[in-house]
Structures are given as structure tokens and as C-alpha cells.
Amino acid sequence: MKFGIVVNEGPFTHQASDSAYLFTKAALEKGHQVMRVFFYYDGVNNGNKLSSPQADDRNLVKLWGDLAAEHKVDLVICVAAALRRGIKDEILAEGFRISGLGQLIEASMAADRTLVFGD
């Protein structure tokens, strides 16, 4: 089955990004395909490479990047939401790309199931 995931919130402040990450990982482990994870609203902050959590805590930005590298998951940061929040190419974390809101609609059309994680 093909999944599309939408993440509405940034790392740490809300649990949304954690829940989305754990769901994505579980779906991949079960042999499903996660076509795209689209980061919208404050979710764009998941793509900020400057995020420096405490050493003994999970590094969500890196976890997402590693997942993308290992499983070829397309991590897309919405350009309009990103600009508002100061997320630009120069601080974009490994594994993410910035693109338009249309990518969310397209992923929802192509996927069998679309899930939203937010506040």
C-alpha cells in the first residue's frame, strides 16, 4: 500500500513529527511504500539543519534525513510556509527538498492513504 504523510508541526514543540516518523518507520518495516512526507505549517521546521537537540535525546531532523536516505522517502518542505518561517536552502537539512503546495495534493492523489499528523 502507498502512503502519503502530512506533518503540520515542527520538531519537539508538538509530538506530531515524532508520531509521523514512527508511523512512517512502521509502515516501511511492514513493506509498505511511503511516497512522500509533506511538511506544512510549522512542520517546515523539521527541515532546519541548525536544530541541535540535547545529546541524549532523539535528533528528529537527522532521523527524518536518515529515513529518507535509507528508504528513498521524498521529504518535501512547502515553499510558501517555509519562507514565512525562514527555512531556506542554505539551512535545509540533508534529505529534504523545498517545493510547492501542489506536491501535497499530488501525493494525496497518488497514494492509497493520506495521513495528517498535527496539533
Binding site: G100, I105, E106, V116
Partner: protein, 143 residues
């Protein structure tokens, strides 16, 4: 160097029923505005859409919003663009795209509003009927 093939999806001939759910008041958070932007972008994809206002979401389309003292952009006139998209879709026989703008009756009445308070024409649906419509959707997006 990046593998672009994973970014190309085949959506030829795909026609899904999208529901955009608005449950929050405007200005207290950005969700109202950014869902609106999502709805506007979706028009280009010619999918079916039910744009639904539930709970405090009904306030997003309240007439007479004056944001001057707050220094925030009053984006409520943009809901009229959605109304125009809907009318264009209804009128154009070559486009198979049904858009509906819906307010939940219970949410509206609980907040002391009626259809005359709203900036666009809406279908007022009772929870029971909206529930049946919701159950038919392929994709539900909200914030």
C-alpha cells in the same frame, strides 16, 4: 545526483474526493490561512472538494472582519475566490469537478451565527448529513 524518479507520480485520470476541514477561528493561529492556500492550489488539480467549516472554523467566513488594529492581513475576501472556483466548476460542462462549501449547522448555531453572517454562500448541513458526506471522502486534510 538526487534520484528524481521518486518525485514523479502518475496521477493521470485520478479523481478523488477531498475534504478540507476547518475547525479553528481565524487570526488566533495560521491554520485558517494556510488551509485556504491549500484549497486554492488544489483547484488546478481538478479534484472534487468539500470545503467544510466545523466548530470555531465557522468564524473564518464571518463577514466584516477588520484587522487594521492588529496589523494582520484580512484574508477573508479570499474565500470569495473559492466561491468563484466552485461556480466556474458548476458551470463548465467540460470540467468534472464538484466543489461544495459547507457549514455544520450545529457549530454555527452553537456560536450564535446564521448564514447571513457569512461572507460566502454556503450549504448548511446538519451533523448527521455531514457525517454521511465525510464517510465518502478519499482524503481529509486539515490543521
Amino acid at each position: 545526483m538526487a534520484d528524481d524518479s521518486r518525485r514523479e507520480f502518475d496521477t493521470e485520470g485520478v479523481k478523488k474526493r477531498f475534504m478540507f476541514v476547518n475547525r479553528r477561528a481565524p487570526y488566533g493561529s495560521i491554520y485558517a490561512l494556510e488551509i485556504l492556500e491549500m484549497v486554492l492550489i488544489s483547484a488546478a488539480f481538478e479534484q472534487h472538494a468539500a470545503i467544510v467549516f466545523i466548530d470555531d472554523g465557522v468564524f473564518q467566513i464571518k463577514k466584516g472582519q477588520d484587522t487594521e488594529a492588529l496589523g494582520m492581513k484580512n484574508f477573508s475576501p479570499t474565500y470569495r475566490v473559492i466561491e468563484m472556483e466552485k461556480h466556474d466548476a458548476d458551470e463548465d460542462e467540460d470540467i468534472d469537478m464538484v466543489w461544495r462549501i459547507i457549514v455544520e449547522r450545529e457549530s454555527m448555531e452553537a456560536r450564535g451565527l446564521d448564514a447571513d453572517d457569512l461572507i460566502v454562500g454556503v450549504e448548511v448541513m446538519a451533523a448527521q448529513d455531514l457525517s454521511a458526506l465525510m464517510a465518502e471522502q478519499d482524503v481529509v486534510l486539515g490543521g
